[in-house]
């Protein structure tokens, strides 16, 4: 059982949770994730470790409320418990001095991106940052990210914050401004695909972190399989980061839809039950 220290909504449909997990806090590296099980009925849900405090024995996750499990997470309060937390899982990001590193975050992708950006900066890289979301109310981690970047650009689809446009505009602007040695792009799959298509042309090595649907997270089920360079790989143990130029993004998007029907049914039932509970 893991005690929740803090759990609040920090942007539109985005929650931030600080939860006790001393082992994870001590061993985690940038780029790694956990799998949690909320309660006895819970599924195994993966979240990136956005931050950790090994003295306090806590980790921080950001979650976007999209379905039943993340909805359930958002109803928990400080003082409640999470049943299981497994991790740290996945390969850590290869942190070293590349030269100039451009970190591009879209929406909730900022949560996994931030610790990587921080580590890249500490490793002596010049850090460029681009952050994008649909509108200003969805932004997370903007301030700390801006603070660690040597140069930073912000975009929203509707122009409610920063420039109006997509993160790919930021990529264009920075690309014309000088040599970039590595791009790290984390966000919705269409965004990662768009970035990857562009850097493929310009030949900038690009890393993406994939969010396949997972079960065990230990390489046992193959549910998280992705096609990378024509080969089947497992996101949980071979990734979650891959060479963007080799990833079959279309297949990943297709596989994300696997449980649409079941998830909608279960989420609706959950909301219905919550409403009923609320009435009692």
């Amino acid at each position: 059982m893991h005690l929740i220290r803090y759990n609040e909504i920090v942007a539109e449909r985005v929650g931030m949770m600080i939860v006790e997990a001393p082992y994870v806090a001590e061993h985690r590296k940038a780029g790694q994730f956990i799998i949690l099980i909320i309660d006895e009925f819970g599924e195994r849900v993966p979240f990136t470790i956005a931050d950790a405090d090994s003295k306090e024995g806590t980790i921080t996750i950001y979650y976007q409320i999209v379905g039943k499990s993340t909805d359930k997470l958002s109803t928990l309060k400080a003082g409640d418990f999470i049943k299981d937390i497994a991790g740290p899982l996945g390969h850590a990001t290869e942190i070293k001095k590349y030269g100039t590193v451009l970190c591009i975050g879209g929406g909730i992708g900022m949560a996994p991106l931030y610790p990587i950006a921080e580590a890249m900066k500490s490793a002596g890289n010049r850090l460029l940052g681009v952050l994008g979301s649909r509108n200003s109310s969805l932004l997370i981690l903007e301030d700390p990210f801006k603070k660690i970047c040597d140069e930073f650009l912000l975009f929203t689809d509707d122009g409610s914050a920063g420039e109006k446009g997509f993160v790919t505009h930021g990529l264009e602007q920075f690309s014309s401004g000088g040599k970039i040695d590595l791009v790290v792009a984390i966000g919705p799959v269409p965004m990662m695909k768009a970035v990857s298509d562009m850097t493929k042309v310009t030949g900038i090595p690009t890393l993406v972190s994939l969010n396949s649907i997972m079960v065990d997270g230990t390489g046992m089920c193959g549910g998280c399989r992705v096609t990378v360079g024509g080969k089947t790989l497992f996101t949980c143990v071979d990734g979650p980061e891959f060479d963007a130029h080799e990833v079959d993004f279309d297949e990943l998007m297709m596989r994300h839809k696997t449980y649409r029907k079941e998830e909608a049914e279960s989420h609706e039932l959950h909301r219905h039950k919550c409403r009923l509970d609320g009435m009692i």
Binding site: Y23, V24, H27, I37, I38, F41, G42, E43, R44, K68, S69, K72, K83, D84, I85, A86, G87, P88, L89, G90, H91, V215, D216, G217, T218, G219, M220, C221, G222, G223, R225, T227, T232, V237, E251, M254, R255, K257, T258, Y259, E262, E263, E265, S266, L269, H270
Partner: protein
């Protein structure tokens, strides 16, 4: 002599495919005694030679005959730490019961079912065997993986006085016993009971810990005097044919894990979903394939096909499972092989294209090699396909451990007698060494490793 084999009562097929309760209902005491009376108490006891851990079969059967069920339990426990499990899942027909002298004329003594009876009796009467107070050695052993190999090693080591910590990647210990083998064949309560007994005996179990990712084997070696690796054959093989990543194509591991471990059969009460196909096709012919097919029936699928490339005789699954699957209505498409998965415009699986096979000359394994019959392709309409064509060794520990010798297939290489790996202080056993095998063989390996670890801890010699 009483020649009639006692028939264990079972749920009727039409009833049982509507629930996840155990199919076999177990012997009553009277039936067990009658069955025990069939045993001839052979002096040379060929049955014992057929058991990978040499359970003293005539001895325990004789105790059943005298209605001394707990004594019988004590005898079995001497060499087999999980009798309730083995009595249910051992392929007895190719092990102990294959060698029984009564086999050809009257049918073997139901050794497995008797073993199961004795273990269930012990559990139901809660007459837990006393835990002996062994003197502590002060040595610490880490066990990686909590399948039958790891659990057996842990049980032996704790009784030798060593401190034992088991590290398990999943949230629930038991390995394949909890995530793979379905409830209707092996109720999870039984596995939990056995694990509780280990915990009571002092074994520490740490779940949610993936060794090789969260922490390395070398990290463990700094904190423990010896390490046993029992990480199993959990790496699912795929067919590598077009369309395998369509929505609706599962590895058997994923399908069974969702349903057994995560209880997707009770979705949406439980949060984990699984696609409930109207038509389901399982590819493969082993226990894993049978378990998948029979699980699909219980999820309410109207039509469940099982496609296997050889004929019924070559099927590696236990005879009992094949028989149960047939009774329950699984449609066997034998001598057929999948060549492609076909989907709709949204990426949902629609059908599996297969090709007919014929059996040619025997191959290395002695089984006749199947070859394709040209132009014989056909399609099976299906919403869900389950790929059950085998599992490879779990690669995580080997990959992250420099100096660990592995075979061409990626299995950990050990000395067959001592179970020592190429790394000092590290032992291994079970499916990670042998490749996918059986519960009882994994337990045998765990047991051998434990005595060899004990020797190493006492002498310090490698």
């Amino acid at each position: 002599m009483n020649k009639e084999k006692q028939i264990m009562p079972e749920q009727k097929p039409e009833e049982r495919i509507k629930n996840f309760d155990e199919v076999s209902l177990g012997f009553s005491s009277d039936m067990a005694v009658l069955e025990a009376q069939r045993c001839l108490q052979c002096k040379n006891s060929p049955c014992v030679q057929g058991c990978p851990v040499n359970v003293n079969i005539p001895a325990f059967i004789s105790k059943i005959r005298d209605e001394k069920f707990l004594d019988a339990y004590g005898i079995i426990k001497g060499t087999n730490s999980l009798p309730a499990v083995c009595g249910r899942v051992c392929p007895q027909e190719s092990q102990c019961e294959e060698r029984c002298v009564l086999r050809n004329k009257f049918g073997s003594v139901s050794i497995g079912k008797l073993e199961r009876f004795v273990a269930d009796h012990e559990r139901n009467t809660e007459n837990v065997l006393e835990i002996r107070d062994t003197e502590k050695t002060g040595k610490r052993v880490a066990v990686v993986g909590s399948g039958p190999a790891g659990l057996t090693a842990a049980g032996e080591l704790i009784s030798m006085g060593h401190d034992v910590t088991v590290f398990e990647a999943l949230h629930s210990p038991g390995g394949v016993l909890v995530y793979g083998i379905p409830e209707f064949r092996l109720p999870k309560d039984i596995v939990h009971y056995e694990i509780d007994a280990l915990v009571r005996a002092g074994v520490e179990i740490v779940t949610n810990r993936v060794i090789g990712i969260s922490e390395s084997l070398d990290d463990l070696l700094e904190k423990y005097d010896a390490v046993f690796i029992g990480t199993g054959a959990g790496l699912p093989s795929f067919l590598n044919i077009p369309g395998e990543n369509l929505q609706g194509v599962y590895s058997a591991n994923e399908y069974l894990t969702r349903i057994n471990l995560m209880k997707a059969y009770m979705f949406p009460e439980y949060d984990t979903p699984v696609i409930r196909g109207r038509r389901v096709t399982v590819l493969g012919g082993g226990n894993v394939a049978m378990d998948s097919a029979r699980t699909a029936l219980r999820l309410g699928s109207e039509e469940v096909h099982l496609v296997y490339r050889r004929s019924m005789e070559e099927m590696p699954a236990r005879t009992e499972e094949i028989h149960h699957a047939e009774e329950e209505g699984v449609i066997f498409d034998l001598l057929a092989n999948p060549v492609e998965f076909l989907g709709d415009e949204n990426g949902h699986l629609k059908s599996v294209r297969c090709i007919r096979m014929q059996l040619g000359a025997p191959d290395d394994s002695g089984r006749r090699r199947p070859t394709e019959v040209e132009g014989s392709e056909f399609e099976i309409e299906t919403d869900v396909a389950i790929v059950a064509v085998g599992n490879g060794p779990n690669p995580i520990v080997q990959r992250s451990t420099p100096g660990m010798e592995t075979s061409r297939r990626g299995n950990i290489v050990v000395d067959g007698r001592t179970m020592r790996t190429s790394k000092k202080g590290v032992f291994a056993g079970g499916d990670i060494v042998s490749g996918a095998a059986t519960v009882i063989e994994a337990m045998g390996a765990g047991r051998n490793a434990a005595s060899s670890i004990d020797e190493y801890l006492k002498t310090g010699q490698w």
